[in-house]
Symmetry: C3
Subunit: 318 residues, 3 copies
């Protein structure tokens, strides 16, 4: 356990870098904490003073207004001071190294870095080199991990399905390029889901994904038949342009979630999506807006989960 | 009244989308509330806790740092948490629809959207589709309306002139493209101003503006003679390039407000402008900086009026 | 003293525009205040309510995410409301004059402007024209001054060396284009440092710098021999492209600070740098990260010094 850079020697979370290696009890503890914050977001005054006076830096080396905003909301509802660094235009552009930037912000008494980076592993590098009082949250690194998305997906599944150990979960689309899929697979496996399916064409769901303990399905009907949970992934348009896929229409015909296909899953199956959705590409509007869709509740849970992660980290020391 | 999407069934304001359709008493009530906030802005601690814990989102689909800043100031002085979404670089750019963006932010427990959009009606669309607990403020939509500017102009006129029912108000310049002019005309008419004049060349002040109840004047002298209030509009330079106007010099000669022309108005006439001013294009510097100019007081009143609108909306439920 | 636009008639600081003309006692008083804030930054809750309800505007006409962030951190730790104006995209771009922008923000009840501008003197112009209740801080103007950097450098020197009157201080690099160097030279002279050396090639350290009371050294060994403090300046890459310098390699060979060259200074000499550093251009990594480097403590002190400047200004009236 001492090898896991996310945990201190008491097994407490000091950084959130990956779902991989998080013990099941710790995941449930974060989800429990998120549940208490959900009520805060429903209050007249949506604020608790838990992180008052803390300085949280959003370091988005890869731009994502939506994800950055969710962390900013979570931090402000915990009463922290939030600093959004337009990192593309800052010292990084002047040739300063990533680690020098981090050392400087640490010297300004930063308490937490929320990091998105196009290169896998960048948040690990930061966590290894920053001051002991600083906590790092991975907000998406390359194709590697997006752990807060993984946790909010687990919160959503637990909320609607209660018991992970009886479930069949289908993840559909561009699995191989998806850090969301990777985080979800680690989480679902850790939480004891007996059948996790990776569904999509061979170019996006290669057979060696089986090594992660998933059932690989290139046929959509096989993939979602009898599923309790269907997680649709966003199709990046660059997959078409670089010839991994023939066309959006073609993809939708084979793997897009329609009401007809959804009928193959369990009658009470829920439909999830990390957003933003491409209507008519990976999901039909009637499904996205339908009774079984929990896409917007995912967004609501996402704020509470990020508040839970931030407050958990702030309470633990290296 | 149930038809007016801005008002709930008790006739209370739940969105501010347009001056059109606002009852006279409601306008006066907002201006009265603004008066109480004016003193807050003069205090040592310029803050009241009225909107503490509320999440206000600035959604500027059309860029305007100045207007966005006035809303941000107003919100922070009411102790709200403010989120500026760089919407041009966000999910909207990834192909997500306006309504999906709104649904997502609502799911994050947004309390208020301040919307600027280049298309007329966008704030209406948002108000129709957002959750019942969310309030929408139109911060300028296309050529349609800019209601907080209209209200701050009314605050300014009431402050200096007291009684609307005895006034002659001249609006000078590019009336046809101006959402400020449209909001002002609706407000002045509602508040009982007996004579509202629209002054400018035929290309910018067409005759059918008479349908809005204004007197159309293509001659500047006729337009401002005897006026109590002169509202100069900003001349957009693109009007020259698309041949609606010969040149800035030409325009200034005919319709630019100089001391000579101002002498035609009442001796105690006030000069207003929504800013930013083009010195030497629509207004001479000696007038802009002169004794009769109330351009900077308009800016001061604008903060108080936006605080009044925000706190009024927050107090009413759909 | 009435001539100094930074001081009111009681000799109190109302703007911070330049180190030049600041009395020695006033500098020490700011450094003393910074010392008290240093402990705030180490606290669990890094916040004091001194500037609660104050509106501080970051007006960066020249982009600098890092410097802007240090002022934003300082302001928020004093509980002020901070407004970052993306000035390049705002009214300034619409043709509004600098002074009109300032007049408008003053009318919104701004309390403080933090100004960075590519033209020397811009903060003076603003200070001369803004309302009496507004304070201006120069965050770097052209080649002229960067007074908060000067003050944090003095804080650093005082922290490590105690007595200014026994010191030899070498400033190395592109002195002629550096506002940091200019501010440091004024500060060191005022504080009684007996020997200040300006070290670098003739193109970057011309002989007429002697008029500022410094010893000009074109030889690096002569420049740093026996020094107590070495301040390395950042080398702007544009100096190479415009032929003031042959190449980065050439510069490093002659003036880059290596362990060998550092050995010529006093054994307990400290090494400073305003950041961001160019490793291998003006400073070797082993020196930047070495025992004598106080580059990161400078960053920490910088927040406290900016808090001290802001709170000092807020307490004084024009």
């Amino acid at each position: 356990m001492a090898m896991n850079p996310q945990l201190n020697r008491h097994g407490e979370l000091v950084h959130l870098l990956s779902i991989e290696g998080l013990p099941r009890a710790l995941i449930h503890q974060i989800l429990d904490t998120a549940g208490t914050f959900l009520s805060v977001n429903d209050r007249e005054v949506k604020k608790v003073p838990l992180l008052r006076g803390k300085s949280i830096f959003n370091l988005f080396f890869e731009n994502s207004t939506r994800t950055r905003t969710t962390f900013e909301i979570a931090a402000k509802r915990l009463s922290a001071d939030v600093f959004n660094l337009d990192i593309a235009r800052s010292s990084a552009a002047k040739g300063e190294s990533l680690l020098d930037t981090i050392a400087n912000l640490s010297a300004m008494h930063a308490d937490m870095f929320v990091v998105r980076h196009s290169e896998s592993g960048a948040p690990y590098l930061i966590a290894q080199h920053c001051s002991p009082h600083v906590h790092v949250i991975n907000a998406g690194d390359g194709r590697h991990q997006h752990p807060t998305q993984g946790l909010l997906d687990m919160y959503t599944i637990r909320h609607y399905k209660k018991d992970f150990t009886q479930l069949t979960v289908a993840i559909v689309g561009d699995i191989v390029h998806s850090r969301v899929a990777r985080s979800d697979i680690h989480a679902l496996t850790t939480l004891g889901v007996p059948e996790v399916r990776a569904v999509g064409p061979k170019t996006l769901v290669p057979g060696d994904l089986r090594e992660m303990g998933v059932r690989v399905c290139h046929d959509m009907a096989e993939g979602i038949r009898g599923a309790d949970v269907i997680i649709m992934l966003r199709l990046q348009s660059e997959r078409m342009s670089n010839a991994l896929l023939p066309s959006a229409d073609e993809f939708f015909k084979s793997y897009g979630l329609t009401e007809e296909k959804l009928a193959l899953a369990k009658p009470d199956a829920i439909v999830m999506h990390p957003g933003p959705i491409n209507r008519g590409v990976e999901i039909d509007s009637s499904v996205a807006d339908g009774m079984q869709s929990v896409i917007l509740p995912q967004v609501t849970f996402g704020i509470a989960v990020r508040m839970a992660v931030m407050s958990t980290l702030a309470g633990n020391s290296a």
